[in-house]
């Protein structure tokens, strides 16, 4: 038994050494490993569908309504999820900053309201008022839009760029890498992608991961 213990201990140490020394850095620490994480729905480069969804003010909103926009920050988010709540202030700040630059936030609640009563249309109105959302907060009634995008969780970001009549997916994933503390963020994934688009540069991390609440 001692030998087995010693062996497994050395295996653990070896793994730890490999990880800390960065030998398998790209696999373990890399954000942009591959599109393996986007199993269904859109991949980067795909053309995203437009939609007509009801906003909290009762009006229908489509991407085609925004004639002047250069693109869109589509964020699947909701009321009940603590990860979504943790990002509300950051989403408001991003919207304020980037809609001036042509990229407004379009938030969509994709959840079934029977599963999550906190995500009902009425509660969306309440939450948007409480927080002073500066962006449309749309209800994916009948849950038809989120599966097309391939969103799995909230929050889940799709950054779209207008190219002629089409909205092309340019980034999929997280807002940044620390849901708990905005001041300790190491990578501002979404803002980095936005800056790259605005400066006609290549987006470095086109897919990123983050913990989120499963869409139901």
């Amino acid at each position: 038994m001692k030998i087995v213990k010693f062996l497994s201990l050395s295996a653990v140490i070896l793994v730890a050494v490999v990880i800390t020394s960065g030998v398998i850095d790209t696999k373990v620490m890399g954000y942009d490993v591959a599109a393996t994480i986007q199993e269904s729905g859109y991949k980067v480069g795909d053309v995203a569908t437009d939609f007509s969804l009801k906003n909290i003010d009762g009006k229908m909103v489509s991407l085609s309504d925004y004639k002047q926009a250069k693109g869109f920050i589509v964020i699947f988010t909701c009321n009940h999820c603590p990860y979504s709540v943790a990002y509300e202030d950051r989403i408001i700040a991003i919207d304020k900053k980037y809609k001036e630059l042509g990229y407004p936030v379009i938030a969509i609640n994709p959840n079934d309201t029977e599963t999550y009563p906190a995500d009902s249309y009425e509660n969306m109105i309440v939450r948007a008022r409480e927080k002073g959302f500066t962006f449309p907060y749309l209800f994916d009634e009948g849950q038809k839009i989120y599966p097309q995008y391939g969103a799995t969780k909230t929050p889940h970001v799709y950054l779209l760029k207008k190219e002629g009549p089409r909205n092309v997916v340019r980034y999929i994933g997280a807002i940044d890498d620390n849901h708990k503390d905005a001041s300790k963020v190491k990578n501002h994934f979404l803002e980095d992608a936005l800056q790259a688009l605005l400066n006609n540069k290549k987006i470095e991390n086109t897919y990123t991961r983050a913990i989120g609440c499963s869409i139901k």
């Binding site: 497994s8 295996a11 653990v12 793994v15 730890a16 990880i19 696999k27 373990v28 620490m29 890399g30 954000y31 490993v33 591959a34 393996t36 994480i37 986007q38 199993e39 009940h80 999820c81 603590p82 599963t115 999550y116 799995t152 969780k153 994933g173 997280a174 890498d177 620390n178 849901h179 708990k180 503390d181 300790k184 190491k186 990578n187 994934f189 990123t208 991961r209 983050a210 913990i211 989120g212 609440c213 499963s214 869409i215 139901k216």
Partner: protein
């Protein structure tokens, strides 16, 4: 020498899975987490990622509890992704309420983009997910499971 007898009885009780006490949360950091994920286990290890705020996770927890008590060759490890500040206020009371006896860890590491791929390349971060492993073999379930699906997945390792 009476106390040694009591000690043996106590140890005997503890070794019986059915009589295990209700778990309390052990907070782990990145290093401890990587060890759990990468260490080859002799038993079939079922590692489930969950949080108290995640409804589909909470729904499937009883299935993991059941396989943990039912099978001697299965060890269930529940890794909570609740915030560390919630351990005493939320997570431990939840374990008591639900009578959770599987080992419970809470990973205190918000930089999820860095550690998610150590579990599986296909995981984008939505929970629940489950990793089953034995020796060097691994099987990743990228969604919530039914009890039958869990049993089937475990049976592949026998």
């Amino acid at each position: 020498m009476k106390w040694t007898l009591y000690l043996f009885i106590l140890l005997g009780l503890l070794s019986c899975k059915e009589d295990k006490p209700i778990s309390t949360t052990q907070v782990i950091q990145r290093e401890g987490f990587i060890n759990i994920i990468n260490e080859p286990s002799e038993k079939i290890q079922v590692i489930n990622f969950w949080a108290t705020w995640c409804a589909p996770c909470v729904e499937e927890l009883p299935y993991f509890e059941k396989v943990n008590t039912k099978y001697d060759d299965v060890d269930v490890v529940l890794i909570s992704l609740d915030d560390v500040e919630k351990v005493t206020s939320t997570v431990n009371p939840f374990l008591k309420e639900e009578e959770i006896k599987s080992a419970v860890y809470l990973l205190d590491d918000p930089y999820a983009a860095e550690w998610i791929p150590t579990v599986d390349d296909h995981w984008d971060g939505a929970i629940p997910v489950t990793l089953i492993k034995k020796g060097k073999e691994k099987y990743f379930i990228n969604k919530a499971v039914t009890y039958d699906q869990l049993e089937e997945a475990i049976a592949q390792f026998r």
